[in-house]
């Protein structure tokens, strides 16, 4: 018995997780866990949590859960970033060791892409898309809940690696053969592959769900060319997910099999070819870049029209360019490894295809500017992100063109120039876009605005911090500093610029603190949104009260114009003014179910067991998975009914029912 305990301690808490940072994190996690449990018990909230959130299939609540998860992950990824930057500012006295640094940059990248950007996108999709297309829910509400719980438990699996067993340390790209057991023993990389496989399943399901939602669930009259741009980007992104995630799944599974079951895909011996992983990974990885940036483009298209009080300029060209980006993004993956000897013809082809994709992107930029032209621009927080996005993204795109210039890439590949470039597009494009969307749709989610003054403070800190951080990194690239070094010798002239960059990172950190304060402050003191249309919006979600009732639309609207709600307002209509009591009938809505949560939990157990190769635990989890699937196969009780009287009462209480 004692030897068993010792074995557990040795496996779960090996030496490299018994460091001050990890022990501190352990302490904080345990403490916050205790506080949360105590609070829930004291307030008797367990039942509420279970009934209203953990088992919910309501897209609005799932969206909010995605949002909370994304902000928590932004915190984790941000703290990682600060640790990295601190180390690089102090090359002579590194604060964290090389092995810690490697783990931290790996989790920073992985979390920011898979567990921050993706859920923040899904949060906005869940919150806005069904309302924008005049639907009562997504196409598959239960699948939607499953997607969320698979994502959530995947994220949990990756995050516990920090304190249990050891983090992955091969970068977010996880190139073999460094991920093989020969070079990388221990559970870290198992965590990485398994958590991404689990979360990836969820993401694929979300892609299917929203593709079908946008194709089949639109309100009558909303033709494809009358869809809001955000819905167009949802459609194209969902399609991209469908085509991009399977190659990733295959690449991750092969790597995992190499580690756990002794296959020889990417090993040094037995004819393994690491190059194959690189191809499969970027076959996913490049479309992934557009998976995260297209929704941001969609947000900007909504935000810019609303706050300029003007129709989106060049709608058809915007649609065309989104479709062009979608198709072209599959044909550019080799530009991530021009320096892997693909030969001049292949490199030149992919250099050209990469430049080609800049054209539709450039068109979008000009269309956004000309949407503002002739409008009345309100400088709200959401709009500030938009205005900051344009130059930032253009510069990021321009440096992308420099990297697509194949011979220049031979020099710039894997340097800090590259690091600055992709942060330039990911922060300047994706993060600004998603934050803009969060500020824009916040009233629709919670029924109150976020405080504008604090929001602008957070914005300026982010924006200035961003340039102070990444401007110097372009120069570091020209000085020949390569990425992922935990420290560097003095004498290359790298020190000063690194210090400036670190200062910038802390300014961004301050921006995050202000943003969180902004959220907490506004929960209590934020301006309440009583009209449901605080920004004088253009699309259907603003026709509803904030937050929208469970069934969204008492009666599904008929759409006649592109900016449906704006059009209705121009004609003096609202959703309510023609709605009479007998228009309302009893509605069939999806019913809450614990299966998605339990399925996610089971997959978590499987993943955890596999990480440590404890097959009994894997078997227990697998039984859970099979049981969940069997249960839902035989479960015909999927719907509940909301009585017409209940809806009438709700609508009257909201003042939206005549007579």
């Amino acid at each position: 018995m004692p030897s068993f305990v010792l074995y557990l301690i040795h496996t779960l808490f090996p030496h490299d997780v018994r460091r001050p940072t990890e022990l501190g994190a352990d302490f904080l996690i345990i403490m916050s866990g205790v506080i949360i449990v105590y609070y829930l018990t004291k307030q008797k909230k367990w039942r509420y949590l279970w009934d209203e959130w953990l088992t919910t299939v309501d897209h609005k609540k799932i969206g909010i859960m995605y949002l909370i998860a994304a902000i928590a992950m932004l915190f984790r990824g941000g703290v990682d970033a600060l640790m990295l930057r601190t180390n690089l500012a102090l090359p002579t006295t590194p604060v964290i060791s090389a092995s810690e640094y490697n783990e931290v940059f790996t989790t920073h990248g992985t979390i920011m892409i898979f567990f921050m950007a993706m859920p923040l996108i899904f949060a906005l999709w869940n919150v806005a898309v069904p309302l924008m297309i005049g639907a009562r829910d997504v196409a598959f509400p239960r699948l939607n809940a499953m997607s969320f719980w698979l994502f959530a438990f995947g994220a949990l699996l990756l995050n516990i690696s920090f304190v249990i067993g050891g983090s992955p340390n091969a970068g977010w790209t996880a190139y073999p053969p460094y991920t093989g057991v020969a070079f990388n023993p221990g559970p870290g990389e198992n965590y990485f592959f398994l958590s991404l496989l689990i979360a990836g399943m969820g993401t694929t399901m979300t892609g299917i769900n929203f593709l079908v939602t946008t194709l089949r669930m639109r309100a009558p009259g909303m033709t494809l060319m009358k869809m809001p741009m955000f819905v167009w980007t949802t459609l194209t992104t969902a399609a991209l997910i469908l085509f991009a995630f399977p190659p990733l799944t295959v690449a991750l599974a092969m790597s995992l099999f190499d580690r756990l079951f002794g296959s020889s895909f990417f090993t040094l011996t037995h004819g393994g070819m690491p190059m194959m992983y690189v191809n499969l990974f970027w076959l996913f990885g490049h479309p992934e870049v557009y998976i995260v940036v297209l929704p941001a483009f969609g947000v900007f298209s909504e935000v810019v029209a609303t706050y300029s009080r003007k129709a989106l300029f060049g709608y058809s060209a915007m649609v065309l360019s989104v479709l062009a980006i979608m198709f072209l993004s599959y044909g550019t993956w080799v530009h991530h490894f021009f320096t892997m000897g693909a030969g001049p013809a292949v490199n030149a082809f992919f250099g050209l295809s990469t430049m080609l994709i800049a054209i539709p992107t450039g068109v979008k930029i000009f269309n956004w500017i000309f949407t503002m032209w002739g409008g009345r621009i309100q400088l709200t927080t959401a709009m500030l992100y938009q205005i900051a996005f344009i130059p930032t993204f253009v510069i990021g795109g321009a440096t992308g063109i420099l990297l697509a210039t194949v011979p220049a890439d031979y020099q710039l590949h894997n340097t800090y120039f590259l690091v600055a470039h992709f942060h330039n597009v990911l922060i300047g494009g994706v993060l600004f876009g998603l934050l803009s969307g969060t500020y824009y749709w916040w009233p629709k989610m919670f029924g109150h605005k976020l405080d504008e003054r604090q929001g602008k403070w957070a914005f300026w800190l982010y924006f200035i911090g961003f340039w102070v951080t990444f401007g110097p990194q372009y120069l570091l690239g020209l000085e020949g500093m390569t990425r992922r070094m935990y420290t560097y010798p003095l004498g290359f002239g790298w020190h000063e610029l690194n210090v400036i960059s670190t200062v910038g990172a802390f300014i961004m950190g301050a921006g995050f603190v202000v943003m969180v304060y902004n959220v907490l402050y506004s929960l209590k003191y934020g301006e309440r949104d009583l009209t449901g249309d605080p920004w004088d919006g253009r699309t259907l979600e603003w026709a509803l009260p904030s937050p929208a009732p469970e069934y969204n639309f008492a009666r599904i609207p008929v759409v006649t114009a592109r900016d449906a709600w704006w059009d209705m307002k121009q004609k003096g209509q609202t959703l309510a003014n023609s709605l009479s009591s007998h228009d309302i009938s009893t509605l069939e809505m999806p019913k809450n179910t614990p299966v998605p949560f339990l399925l996610g939990l089971s997959f978590f157990v499987v993943g955890f067991g596999m990480t440590f190769e404890w097959w009994i635990i894997v078997a227990i989890g697998a039984i859970g998975v099979v049981a969940s699937l069997l249960y839902s196969a035989f479960d015909y009780d999927e719907h509940k009914h909301i009585n017409a009287d209940v809806i009438r009462r709700t609508e009257s209480a909201l003042g939206r029912l005549q007579g």
Binding site: I208, M217, L242, F243, V250, M254, S264, H270, A633, Y636
Partner: protein, 206 residues
């Protein structure tokens, strides 16, 4: 008002699973799922194409494969694809008995396929051709194994369907489930044709 009437008329001519809006949407969703599965197999096939010659010290495709069991498997799976078609045909004619009978035949043929394939794999491993031996064998086992796993999952899925059909008869939900299962099964059949051509046939001829 003419639009809803026309729609209603159209719905009367549609099979049960398409007439119900919710179930019809689920069929669309299933097609999207098949897209992701096409991509999974696409990735596996392209890996196999790359690894085909990386035999290291292990056996090559030519040395490893034998046609007997592969042709048996092909016949079993192709026949099962035909019988699931007959099952759907019976479903369209509201013939519950025949639907169930053809589904059972499909299941048995599928099970035969899996048994033969497992027997094959065990033989390879016993001869020392494990997937550790070479990248070629790794790629072979993961490609054909993934297909086999799909068939196995399909058999389990169809078993639950069988129970639902017996208990509930033809409802929009059960017909939709059977219809999507048939899509899945045909898809696996097509994948097998590719495996037969590009893995076995190609391996023996070149």
């Amino acid at each position: 008002m003419s639009v809803p009437v026309a729609k209603e008329e159209m719905e009367q001519h549609l099979p049960l699973e398409f007439a119900d809006e919710k179930e019809s949407i689920k069929i669309t969703g299933f097609w999207m799922f098949l897209v992701t599965d096409v991509m999974i197999f696409g990735s596996l096939f392209s890996s196999y194409a790359v690894y085909r010659t990386s035999v290291a010290q292990g056996p090559s495709a030519y040395q490893l494969f034998s046609f007997g069991p592969v042709i048996l498997e092909t016949v079993l799976l192709l026949t099962s694809s035909f019988t699931i078609g007959l099952s759907i045909y019976s479903m369209r004619r509201q013939n519950k008995q025949a639907t169930i009978a053809w589904l059972i035949v499909t299941l048995l043929l599928g099970a035969g396929f899996v048994i033969s394939e497992v027997h094959d794999f065990v033989g390879y491993v016993a001869a020392g051709a494990t997937w550790h031996q070479s990248a070629f064998l790794s790629a072979f086992f993961i490609l054909v194994g993934t297909h086999g796993a799909h068939v196995t999952f399909g058999i389990l899925w169809a078993t639950t369907l069988l129970i639902q059909l017996i208990r509930r008869g033809f409802t929009p939900v059960t017909t939709r489930k059977l219809f999507t299962f048939s899509l899945y099964w045909h898809f696996l059949d097509i994948v097998w044709i590719f495996i037969f051509t590009f893995v076995y046939l190609n391996g023996k001829i070149v």
